[in-house]
């Protein structure tokens, strides 16, 4: 056995060179595949995410507009009082409403079934960085809504408004993280976000607001009339009570 081993010829230099060539070849393949993978990942940044209103036909016709626009509702569908809000997730005043007024409204009227709350998107857009991602945020909330997490996502968007609204690039990463926070399926959410899903609805909602004379956010309608003091809960409450046929306590 030892004799056999001793007689075993050394590998010729050409075989060693072949080995090296094979390794270099493998390294080159791995490098090309890896760079291609990274390149695709970089190219996908922002992806095909719809971040702006899309062209829709019939927007001048209120009947068509009302068919296309869809608010997100909360509370008793049969409730007498309807509280409509046109809001933008990038707007600090809307955050103030969502965090300061909305909880009281929910506790006192929406949760007991006395009033119904309807949220319409009104992304301000424009050239300023502050409102740049309002449209995609509205879409993101609806993507979360596909999984029954609209209001949870709405709360996170407002709570972390500063974090995402000033992002240089489309805040896909942040929104996917928020989707996880609200226990939504991140993959399904991201696929929805990286598309133009709900772009038509958000566009129609904004257009509906324009037709109703919305010039700023938040604009609150109760009983079909805009409420001037959106940041005064007593005024909101009084308007809801009037709709319910009750007199506000003086």
């Amino acid at each position: 056995m030892a004799e056999t081993k001793a007689r075993k010829p050394k590998r010729p230099a050409s075989a060693q060179g072949t080995n090296l060539k094979k390794v270099y070849g493998l390294l080159a393949i791995i490098l090309v595949v890896g760079i291609a993978w990274i390149g695709i990942s970089v190219a996908n940044r922002g992806g095909a995410v719809a971040t702006a209103p899309v062209p829709l036909t019939g927007m001048d016709d209120m009947k068509t507009l009302l068919q296309q626009a869809q608010g997100v509702t909360s509370g008793n569908p049969e409730a007498t009082a309807q509280v409509l809000i046109f809001s933008d997730f990038t707007c600090p005043a809307c955050k103030q409403f969502a965090q300061g007024i909305e909880p009281s409204l929910r506790t006192e009227f929406i949760d007991p079934g006395k009033a119904r709350f309807v949220y319409y998107d009104f992304p301000l857009g424009g050239v300023t960085q502050q409102h740049k991602w309002g449209f995609v945020a509205a879409r993101a909330a609806r993507c979360a809504g596909d999984q029954g997490k609209y209001w949870e996502f709405h709360d996170v968007l407002f709570a972390r408004q500063i974090e995402w609204s000033y992002q240089k690039d489309t805040p896909v990463r942040e929104f996917v993280e928020y989707a996880r926070l609200v226990a939504a399926d991140a993959g399904v959410f991201e696929a929805c976000l990286r598309s133009d899903k709900f772009a038509d609805i958000v566009t129609a909602n904004r257009q509906l607001g324009v037709q109703l004379g919305v010039g700023s956010t938040p604009t609150v309608f109760i009983g079909g009339r805009p409420v001037a003091g959106w940041n005064d809960y007593n005024e909101i409450k009084a308007a809801v009570l009037r709709e319910l046929g009750e007199e506000p306590a003086k």
């Binding site: 090296l20 791995i30 890896g34 990274i38 996908n44 940044r45």
Partner: protein, 161 residues
């Protein structure tokens, strides 16, 4: 791999023959560099979302343990795997089989990478309570590199400096 190469017996080896373990290390190091580069680009915001089946990559990357000594962990990975790749390629060159400096760099770096990735895996399991498939991939690469670097011990003992 020959017995001489496995034991690192430099005297028994043909010094002109590139060591197979170093070839393997070069391949794994390159994979490590690519994984770390991918994670680094995410950290830099160049890549928006990570392809992460378990869905916890961002959780791990945004955790307090995502930085080490003030530098993001993936950056350390690029540096560490890059050093291992360079040393492996240098060690594959004809006549470099018994080079103790290269052996020291390979074994030392691979050991550090192995221990560090073990620490990170432990953090994922006990502190973050989330797993990132790229981190697991990196840990597998680091483990393979460590095993492949064991023959370097023999070169350190018997090779030329």
């Amino acid at each position: 791999m020959t017995a001489a190469e496995m034991t690192g017996d430099a005297n028994a080896q043909n010094v002109a023959s590139p060591a197979l373990n170093r070839m393997g290390m070069a391949l794994f190091s390159l994979i490590g560099v690519l994984i770390a580069a991918y994670m680094s680009l995410y950290k830099l915001g160049v890549i928006q979302t990570l392809a992460c089946g378990t869905g916890a990559c961002e959780v791990v990357q945004e955790s307090p343990w995502a930085d080490f000594l003030g530098i993001p962990v993936p950056f350390w990975g690029v540096g560490g795997y890059g050093l291992l790749l360079a040393a492996s390629l240098a060690g594959m060159q004809p006549g470099r089989n018994g080079d103790r400096r290269i052996a020291a760099v390979l074994f030392g770096s691979a050991t550090i990478a192995f221990v560090f990735s073990g620490y990170l895996s432990w953090i994922e399991a006990t502190r973050i309570l989330a797993w990132c498939r790229w981190c697991i991939g990196s840990a597998v690469v680091a483990s393979a590199l460590f095993l492949l670097s064991l023959p370097e011990i023999g070169r350190l003992r018997g090779g030329r400096g």
